[in-house]
Structures are given as structure tokens and as C-alpha cells.
């Protein structure tokens, strides 16, 4: 039985379209406009989808990409990334260098001078102490923030030498909870960040760091209002309590429903066009697509099913696709007898057709990958790993040499459609090209992570997304004994190169060292890259001056909402 005919709707739609066209034709109220000269609409409202409830709007506690997308619009830090992901001065007068005296000769002291007239969204003056408070807040014991480990280069006076170094050592040695808690307390008490006056922030490091400016541009270094923490405790991030210093401030937060940002009149930067940013929390991409079609959202990230619906339709004009700094592929657990064999891993890495995967299986939503450091990141090497480009004969030889012909392999997969799809495809490739027997074990997400952390697996599909645009954020994943090195890849030369890079002050040389290390990782098949991530999104034509970057949270263009304006909304 046909309960509904689309044809019946056409005359009606036509009428609606005509009325809308008439209404828009008269809508010419001038406005200053922006880059492309189109006039600004009277109503400057942007509607986006976060896709989920933010875990926390406390910059020193946030770890998820949803929260980070919101935080980037609520706060400004000492430094920031421009659209090319280069570090720029934001609240600081300039990016510290040895030449301008911002970095001491020994590389251990960073001095930031604040701009004049900085204010919080409630009009209070923003002083250097806010950054000291932020770092102390970051290092509070029990902060539940794994990003704190990125900042262990900050000096902290402890009972026996530097407390942050002691924490790193304790973590590597697997110290017990009490020891660790005591050390974390020592870090919190002795962290070496000071504000000698209202306009100067001084950070002391326990060793020179080539990436500290990058770390300073990230959200955990955003300033905070200690008086609000004292007054409201954990609830200081609620709308009405939260005071920020970025282009927008938080005006509403209905948990698990939506939140709203409004322009912050006290922001130090150039004129923000948008008055309001509405952030919805639609988890289902199919529903988000409906809301986009109905003009309730101005841009959305597309899921795989929606991507197919967009291709080849007139919506393709609204389609944008760009690289995100992420690499996904195959992790091998070297504790497993089969995966311990380098030849076996190389055989598995070399017997899959990544171009077919990217273009056919994933509908060109991703790019085929052969290296670990993604394209767009310093140190990316387009030549590395090409020996593994679907060379079936060589792979069969390697497998024969390893003595694991006809091996039984289990892929552990989380219950996500992409992960299962990828596992299915790998199974088909490996069974066909290598004659091995592959089974797939799909687990509920939390159980999957538990099994994975416990080391009960042979092969998992996963990867890494950039926190900051430097190989230092990527390479330590495969350092011997590293907490995140779940597959136990071990190579002494690899570790040595990483140490060398950490101590290298010449940036070009440092990147070169990372290239060398990457070659070892890929040639030995410690990890087999499959694809680099892309963002595929739809943006309404009336959203003007959207600036996207290759390092975004959950929302397209989340670093530069301050430049967006609305023109010609239908």
C-alpha cells in the first residue's frame, strides 16, 4: 500500500519556493559584508551540530573533540594556530623565540608579555595570574585529564629533583597508586609557573622542548578564573557561571540537548560578525542530514550513508572535503607468536589494496596511506611504505619465509560500522591474497577497549589524530614500553632516534630524524597505515568566510568562527 506520494508534494513545494524567492528578493538591508563583498544579513546566527554532549567545558579537564570545538570559541590563549597550523601570538605580544628574548639561551625559561587591555567576558581585567592558575589547575591530582602528560616538561620542584620528571619515571616503571599520588601532589605544589606582574607569564621547563610553543597554543593552557572555581566548584562551567575570554561566551547549556554561544563584546580580537552560535547535539548523522535539508543546521559533517546520498546531486555544490591530520591502519600485537614475526607482519601489510579501500569501500571519503606521519604534517614522507602497495607475490613469499602460512588470525573490532566494514574488507583481502584464515571478533565499545588495553588481541584497527602539528605528537606511540604502545613494538634504533630528536634544537634536522624513525617503523611493519582521514561536510551557501584547517574538533572550521558571517540566508 502506498501511503504517501512524493509527487503530490511538488506543487506545494513549488509554491513554497516561489514565496520564499519573493521574500528573499526584497531582503537587501546592506551591511558591511566581508571578504567576497556580499552583504551581511541582519540576523547573524550560525547553527552547527556538535554531535554529542561535551564532556567538560573546563579547559584543563576537556579531552574530547566535542568539548575542544566549543572551547576554541570560548577562549583565547597566549598563542594560537593560524589556518596553516603555524603558531601565532594571540594574547601574548609575540611568539617567544631565543632571538626576541622570549626563550632563555638554555631553552628552559619562556616569558610571555600580555597585550594591553585584556578583559574577560564579564568585563573584569585579565591578568597574568589567570595562566598560573590554569597550569596549577591542570596539574591538580585526580584531574582526569590524560593530556596532562603532554605538559610534564614544565618544571616542578619536588623533594628529590623535578617532580614531573619523577612522575614520568614512576609511570614508566609502573609505580603503585600511592607513590604516584604523592608525586602528583608534589608536582601540584611545586609547579614552576609565575606571574611577576599582571602582564608577564613566566614558565620554567625541566628540559628544553622543541614543541613548547605548540603546546602553549593548545586548550589546556587557556586561562581560567580561579574565583569562579572557588565559588562554584565543579559547576563553574555551567552557563551563567562560566566566564571566558574568547570571541564568544556561553549563554545557554541544556545538557545533552544543545548549547548557545553569544558574541563576547570584550574579546581582544577584530570584529566578530556572528551574534549567536547555536550548537546542537544530534548524534545520528541521518537526523543531522534531515535537519540540514530543513535549514535548521548550516553545516554538518557527513556520515558514510549520507555521503552517498550527496554525491551526484545538486547538493554537491555545498559539499566540501579536506584533510584532517589523522592516520588509521592496522595495529599488530607483537606479544602474539604470529605477529611477533616481522615477515608475517610485512606480508599482511603488503597484501592489501589501499586504493581500492579508499576509493571503493570508503567511497573516497578517505585517502590511501602508506606512512605514519600524515600528509600535511611536517615529516610526512610520500615515499615511505610504498613497497607494501598490494604486492601480493612478495607478500606470499614473506609469509612463507615466516613459517606462518595458513595461520589463523583474529581481528578485534569495536562495534562501529566503519571499524567492522574495514575488518570485513581486510578479511576478504587476506584470505584471498595470502590464504590465511581470518575471523572477526566484534565487541561492544567499552569491552573492546578493555580487551585492547589488557593486550588480549592480535590485530586491531585504529589510529591517531593530531593534538598538535608535530611528529613529536605521533612518533612516541611506538617507543618501547610507552603506555600507548599497546602492540609492544620494540626497536632500539627507533627509540634512540626519538631521544635524539627531542634534544635537537635545529628544527629541520629534528624533522629529518623523525623521517628516519618513521622508515624503521613502517619497513618493519610495526604499524600498517591504511588511510588518512578527511572531513566530508556540507555547508550552506550563505555561510561566508568559513576557514577550515587540518586539525579540527567536531565541527568544521571550529578555530575561526570569528571570521564567519551570514549573507543571503534563504
Amino acid at each position: 500500500m502506498r501511503i504517501f506520494s512524493w509527487r503530490a508534494l511538488f506543487p506545494l513545494l513549488l509554491m513554497v519556493a516561489m514565496v520564499a524567492a519573493l521574500a528573499c528578493g526584497s531582503d537587501d538591508d546592506g551591511g558591511s559584508g566581508g571578504g567576497d563583498g556580499s552583504p551581511e544579513d541582519a540576523e547573524q546566527v550560525l547553527n552547527v551540530n556538535l554531535g554529542a554532549e561535551p564532556g567538560s567545558l573546563d579547559p584543563q579537564r576537556a579531552t574530547d573533540s566535542v568539548s575542544i570545538s566549543v572551547l576554541k570559541n570560548l577562549y583565547s590563549g597566549l598563542l594560537r594556530f593560524n589556518s596553516e597550523l603555524e603558531v601565532q601570538a594571540d594574547l601574548a605580544r609575540e611568539v617567544p623565540t631565543v632571538e626576541n628574548g622570549g626563550i632563555s639561551e638554555d631553552g628552559l625559561t619562556y616569558t610571555f608579555e600580555l597585550r594591553d587591555g585584556l578583559k574577560w567576558s564579564d568585563g573584569e581585567p585579565l591578568v597574568a595570574q589567570a595562566f598560573v592558575d590554569a597550569v596549577k589547575h591542570l596539574f591538580e591530582p585526580g584531574s582526569e585529564n590524560y593530556y596532562v602528560d603532554f605538559y610534564r616538561v614544565i618544571a616542578a620542584t619536588g623533594p628529590d629533583g623535578d617532580a614531573n620528571v619523577a612522575v614520568e619515571k614512576a609511570l614508566a616503571e609502573g609505580a603503585d597508586a600511592d607513590t604516584l599520588a604523592a608525586l602528583e601532589q608534589a608536582v601540584s605544589d611545586g609547579v614552576q609557573v609565575e606571574a611577576p606582574d599582571d602582564k608577564t607569564v613566566v614558565v620554567h621547563l625541566n628540559r628544553p622542548s622543541p614543541v613548547f610553543n605548540l603546546l602553549t597554543a593548545m586548550w589546556p593552557m587557556y586561562p581560567i578564573r580561579q574565583d569562579l572555581l572557588d565559588a562554584h566548584g565543579d559547576r563553574w562551567t555551567e552557563a551563567g557561571n562560566l566566564v571566558s575570554n574568547g570571541p564568544f561566551s556561553l549563554s545557554r547549556w541544556n545538557h545533552a540537548e544543545d548549547l548557545q554561544l553569544v558574541r563576547n563584546e570584550h574579546w581582544h580580537g577584530e570584529g566578530v560578525h556572528l551574534d549567536v552560535v547555536n550548537m546542537d547535539m544530534i548524534e545520528d548523522t541521518a537526523v543531522a542530514f534531515l535537519a540540514y535539508q530543513n535549514d535548521e543546521l548550516d553545516m554538518i559533517t557527513l556520515g558514510p550513508a549520507e555521503l552517498i546520498q550527496v554525491r551526484g546531486t545538486e547538493r554537491e555544490d555545498e559539499f566540501i572535503s579536506y584533510v584532517q591530520l589523522s592516520t588509521l591502519g592496522i595495529y599488530f600485537n607483537l606479544a602474539d607468536p604470529v605477529m611477533a614475526s616481522t615477515e608475517a607482519r610485512q606480508a599482511l601489510a603488503g597484501s592489501i589494496d589501499r586504493h581500492e579501500y579508499a576509493e571503493v569501500v570508503r567511497e573516497a571519503a578517505v585517502l590511501p596511506a602508506f606512512g605514519w606521519i600524515p600528509s600535511g604534517m611536517p615529516g610526512h614522507d610520500a615515499e615511505v611504505g610504498l613497497q607494501f602497495d598490494n604486492d601480493i607475490e612478495a607478500s606470499q613469499d614473506l609469509l612463507a619465509k615466516s613459517g606462518h602460512e595458513g595461520a589463523e588470525i583474529v581481528i578485534l573490532s569495536a562495534q562501529s560500522s566503519t571499524s567492522v566494514l574495514t575488518a570485513e574488507w581486510l578479511k576478504q583481502q587476506w584470505e584471498q591474497n595470502l590464504g590465511v584464515k581470518v575471523s572477526i571478533n566484534v565487541l561492544e565499545t567499552a569491552t573492546y577497549f578493555s580487551e585492547r588495553n589488557a593486550g588480549n588481541w592480535q590485530i586491531v584497527i585504529g589510529g591517531w589524530g593530531a593534538d598538535y602539528p608535530d611528529p613529536q605528537n605521533w612518533m612516541p606511540l611506538f617507543r618501547s614500553g610507552a603506555g600507548l604502545n599497546a602492540g609492544n613494538f620494540t626497536n632500539a634504533e627507533y627509540d634512540r632516534l626519538l631521544d635524539e630528536a627531542d634534544a635537537e634544537t635545529d628544527n629541520d634536522r629534528r624533522i629529518e630524524i623523525y623521517r628516519e624513525a618513521q622508515e624503521i617503523l613502517i619497513d618493519e611493519a610495526g604499524f600498517s597505515p591504511m588511510y588518512y582521514g578527511r572531513r566530508n561536510a556540507l555547508v550552506k551557501p550563505w555561510v561566508k568566510d568559513l576557514v577550515t584547517t587540518s586539525k579540527e574538533g567536531q565541527v568544521p572550521g571550529d578555530s575561526f568562527f570569528s571570521t564567519i558571517f551570514i549573507s543571503g540566508r534563504e
Partner: protein
């Protein structure tokens, strides 16, 4: 009657204790903890997990945690949410129960208001076009899954006709003006129950209509409304009433599918996501909430039986 009530309530308390015990044991034995999930693909560093666990007292022995949980529970406190930092579970739940309850009530009104008359109509006009149409409609509604019906409705009413927003559940229950937005979700939520109820009503009515006393009633010249309502419907109500309890409980406890499609901030989504996120306090809270609702509804139904059919007596 009073002793019956007291006994039932006492049993409810005992049942709730065992439900909380079983839930507690289950959620702590299932592999995967809240902080592994949160760190996700990045892997959880040891210091992160330790710090977080000690913050929430998860390092203490399980029996100790259970006793502490129970103590807090008696004071109406379920602790902090793991997935939404700084939020108390009870606050989060109270926010979500209201829209779910209102939507459930609207849906229930629709289920009863349409389902029962439709069933009576089909029984009274048995084997006519009325009966067959009702059968067709109810079969269709029972067969179409929730989410398909919800999507079709959004396509027609939001994208097609433009009479509502796709996100029409937003802010539902906050004001009287938001209540009409509940109509589509209520229909999508209640459709399968409505279909079931109307089939059951029809079946019960058909059986009653064939009874000798109905023929007697007709023979002594009673009006048809008196026959069908007083003699027919009342006697057909027992199986219907039995069904109404679970239907009501099911409707007001929410549905993750309906809530996520219409953007309605209800308790159904909270229940399912809390399990995925291993948000222990939230799991306990929502499970106990469901248990209380179901037991209360069952109690009410048991108390209503004797009013409908004096042959049933509570003892």
C-alpha cells in the same frame, strides 16, 4: 486491603534491594571501565585511570562501594556522573524524567483513546470493511519499526510540508507551548502499542459478544450502547487492563530511538548511553527508576482489577 498494600510496598523495597545488588554486581563485572571508554582510541594512560578511579572511590573493595552506594541512595544521592563532569546523577535524571513522562502520558492517551475504540469497532463490525481496515492499519503500525515511522514523519512534516522542525523535541516539556511538538514523537512512540492494544481489545470483545448473556441483553431490548459498553466492554477490560500496565510503563520510561531522532531530552537515551559509557551512578539510577515505575504500575493495575471485575479480590 490495607495489609495487602503494606505487604506489597514492603516487597517492593526488598525487590529494589535485590535489583540494586544485581545491577551493581553486573556493572562492575562487565569488562571495561568508565575511564577506558572515555580515553577511547587514544588508550588510557595508567595515571589517568588511577587518578580518575581514586577521585570517584572506585579503588575501594566492591562490597564497601556497594554499602556506600546504598547509604547515599537512601539519602537520595547517586553521586557524580562519570561522563558529564561535575554533574550529579540525580539532577541529570530529574531533568530527563519530566519530558519522558509528559511524552509517555501523551502517547498513552493516544494509545488508549484510539486503540480501544478501534478494537471495539473492529469487534462490533466483525468481518466487514471496518474490521479489515483496522486489521490492515494495526498490522502496518505493528510491523513498521519505530525509527522508520519517525523518519517518514520527519520527511513528510518537516522536510516536505515544513510545518514542524526536524528538532521538534528540543525544549519539550519546558512550557505549555512546547506540548504540541510532542504529537509526532508520541505517535511514533505509541504506534506499536496502539496496534497491539486494539488487537487485544478486539479479541476480548469478540469473545464477550458471543456470550449467552449478551444475547440475553440483546433479546430483552437493551440499547446497543448499553450492550456494548456496560455488558461488553466492562467484561472485556480484564485482558486489556493487564496490558495497559506494561504499556504505560514502557511509554513513560522513554525510548532512545524516538528521543535521539526527535532531539527529545528524555530518560531512554540516558539509560542506554549510561551503559555504553559505564556511568555507574547513572546505570543504577535509571535501572531503579524503571523498576519503581514498573512495580508501581503493576500495583495500581492490581488495585484496579476488583473495581472492574468484582470477582477479582485482593488479599
Amino acid at each position: 486491603m490495607t495489609t495487602y498494600l503494606i505487604r506489597r510496598v514492603l516487597w517492593t523495597v526488598v525487590t529494589l534491594f535485590f535489583i540494586s545488588l544485581i545491577t551493581f554486581v553486573l556493572m562492575h563485572t562487565v569488562p571495561g571501565g568508565p575511564f577506558e571508554v572515555r580515553a577511547g582510541d587514544r588508550g588510557a594512560s595508567e595515571s589517568f585511570i588511577r587518578a580518575a578511579e581514586s577521585y570517584y572511590g572506585l579503588n575501594d573493595p566492591i562490597p564497601e562501594q556497594f554499602v556506600r552506594m546504598l547509604g547515599n541512595l537512601l539519602q537520595g544521592d547517586l553521586g557524580l556522573s562519570f561522563s558529564q563532569r561535575g554533574q550529579r546523577v540525580t539532577d541529570l535524571m530529574l531533568d530527563k524524567i519530566k519530558p519522558s513522562f509528559i511524552l509517555g502520558a501523551m502517547s498513552f492517551a493516544m494509545v488508549v483513546g484510539l486503540g480501544v475504540p478501534l478494537g471495539i469497532l473492529a469487534a462490533v463490525r466483525r468481518n466487514t470493511v471496518w474490521d479489515y481496515s483496522a486489521l490492515g492499519l494495526t498490522t502496518l503500525l505493528a510491523a513498521i519499526p519505530h525509527f522508520v515511522l519517525a523518519f517518514i514523519m520527519l520527511l513528510v512534516f518537516a522536510v516536505g510540508l515544513g510545518v514542524v522542525d526536524v528538532r521538534l523535541g528540543k525544549g519539550f516539556g519546558d512550557s505549555l507551548a512546547s506540548l504540541p511538538n510532542g504529537i509526532l514523537p508520541a505517535v511514533a512512540l505509541g504506534a506499536p502499542s496502539m496496534a497491539l492494544l486494539s488487537r487485544i481489545t478486539r479479541g476480548a470483545m469478540v469473545e464477550i459478544l458471543d456470550q449467552d448473556y449478551m444475547r440475553t441483553a440483546r433479546a430483552k431490548g437493551l440499547s446497543s450502547s448499553a450492550i456494548y459498553i456496560r455488558h461488553g466492554l466492562r467484561n472485556a477490560m480484564i485482558p486489556v487492563l493487564t496490558l495497559l500496565g506494561p504499556i504505560f510503563a514502557g511509554l513513560i520510561t522513554g525510548s532512545i530511538i524516538i528521543e535521539s531522532i526527535f532531539g527529545l531530552p528524555g530518560i531512554g537515551a540516558a539509560f542506554v548511553t549510561s551503559i555504553h559509557q559505564r556511568d555507574y551512578g547513572m546505570i543504577m539510577g535509571t535501572t531503579l527508576f524503571y523498576a519503581v515505575i514498573i512495580m508501581t504500575v503493576n500495583l495500581i493495575v492490581d488495585l484496579i482489577y476488583p473495581l472492574v471485575d468484582p470477582r477479582v479480590r485482593v488479599t
